[in-house]
């Protein structure tokens, strides 16, 4: 029993991290129609910020990181994505790839390509025992952060005026402009929200692993992107569920696979994803009102 609870907590905490990444990618995709492959690099930049501010107290370091990641996200919208806003989705995707490479190699030039290690928030890697189950504090932190941020995002999207403006832009940009929505402001807001998610992932990731390379964002982007696809592109609830699903599959395979197959875990994860998409090509959540009424 305690073994199962332990698995559940691991799966939820890993899934929560993936869900946050998926929400960040899904939010930008929903509002702007942009698949941002540089998203994982926002997380990477956040992790390097935390390492560079290691001398400061933790709250200060986190605030500085949030601001820095937000600045990078907004700058990438203003100077990279906005000039090509009207281009085809394929062009937008290539542009985001280019941005991703440019960011990664800037960090290679500045800090080298080797993994850097830091003992960030050492008290977080401690284990505590609850009812005979040993739980890493960082897992609890991950679950807590996921719940709080997802709830906050859901509240903003569903109950505030910037939220319904985001949904309107996501559905019909031209009409949103016709009713007076300032689309540039709405898009900046979406990038800011996704930056807050990215910086949170930086903190959680670094607290868990304590190590970062300029390239670790890539795998996060892929996982987040896959989670948005299985969630059903454009549905934020779906994004979060997709993230949790990938987290569950990953954790379960970690336990179930024999050690000789462990290095190929990702192949099984993505195989399972493909299978799921064959069964349900529209993703987990298909939006009821998305169909056009004639």
């Amino acid at each position: 029993m305690s073994y199962f609870v332990q698995f559940l907590i691991d799966a939820i905490s890993v899934g929560g991290l993936y869900a946050l990444v998926a929400l960040g990618i899904g939010l930008i995709f929903g509002v702007v129609g942009l698949v941002n492959f540089a998203y994982g690099d926002y997380v990477m930049i956040g992790a390097y910020c935390l390492m560079l501010t290691a001398g400061f107290s933790v709250p200060v370091a986190i605030v500085v990181t949030m601001v820095a990641v937000a600045a990078v996200a907004v700058a990438s919208e203003l100077f990279v994505f906005r000039p090509v806003r009207t281009a085809t989705p394929a062009t937008l995707m290539i542009v985001s790839f280019s941005l991703s490479y440019a960011l990664e190699h800037t960090f290679v030039m500045s800090f080298g390509s080797l993994a850097r290690t830091i003992n960030f928030l050492p008290e977080m890697s401690r284990n505590i025992e609850i009812f005979g189950v040993r739980i890493a504090v960082v897992s609890l932190l991950q679950i807590g952060a996921t719940v709080v941020l997802t709830a906050l995002l859901a509240w903003i999207i569903n109950y505030t005026s910037i939220g319904y403006q985001m949904r309107a832009v996501s559905e019909n940009v031209k009409m949103a402009r016709l009713v007076g929505v300032n689309t540039n402001r709405v898009i900046i807001a979406a990038f800011l929200a996704s930056a807050v998610l990215a910086a949170t992932v930086s903190v959680l990731f670094l607290a868990q692993t304590g190590t970062a390379t300029p390239f670790f964002g890539q795998s996060l982007t892929i996982i987040g992107f896959v989670a948005t696809v299985i969630g059903g592109m454009g549905s934020l609830v779906g994004c979060a569920l997709g993230g949790f699903l990938v987290g569950f599959i990953t954790t379960a395979l970690q336990l179930a696979l024999p050690s000789s197959l462990q290095p190929f875990r990702e192949a099984f994860v993505f195989g399972a994803v493909m299978l799921m998409l064959v069964v349900r090509p529209g993703g987990l959540i298909m939006i009821r009102t998305a169909q056009v009424r004639v």
């Binding site: 319904y164 309107a168 402009r177 016709l178 009713v179 007076g180 998305a290 009424r293």
Partner: protein
Amino acid sequence: MLSVADLHVNYGAISALRGVSVDIAQGEIVALIGPNGAGKTSLLMAIAGIVRAAGGCVEFGGHSILGKSAETILRLGISVVPENREIFTKLSVWENLLIGATARRDRQQVARDIDRVTALFPKLAQRRNDPAGLFSGGEQQMLAIARAMMAAPKLLMLDEPSLGLAPIVIDAVYTAIQELSGAGVTILLVEQNAERALSIAHRAYLISTGEIVFSGTSEEIHSGGNVHKAYFGFRTDDADRRSGIPK
């Protein structure tokens, strides 16, 4: 109130409008009729600031609005009910109304305007929390008009409000348009359905292949076979003569 002079709009090498001039006075209902592809929607979109004009002049209430942003033009008092309604299907009915007032800052007046449009269309208040995508075509048209009214426009431009609707629903839509006109809103009505538009318009412009081919009062347009000329390229009485059909 609105004065469009010698307006040109091009899409790449294709010219959609070639020197269009239209004038609308305060309180009028003006119809713009013509066949598919004549440039009716292009004219509306150019006035609303969505499509960039290649040349000409657009003045509204003494301001030149050509080249201004869609948001600025909306603030000055021009609002659009677009072709096919284009309501936000995933937003609730209420949010569709609220978003119509995005450009406004006078919160109390906005609340009063919500009461006003829901008095005109009671269904909107009854189903305020439903996703707007669940509305029928006619209800969506009412919502689109209400949303445009939430911007408190002086000039309301409607693009094909009868498109795809049952005749009885079209009656209701046209009654609503006349009520709005009665409340002091100036109206520019774009229609393919010429009969309908002429039945409520004071004046009308006939547009064909990017040019205004005739303008006058609704009666003048109705007689004289001008509508047929715009739609088919020749006057019906000419055609009769050519084909030798005795009258």
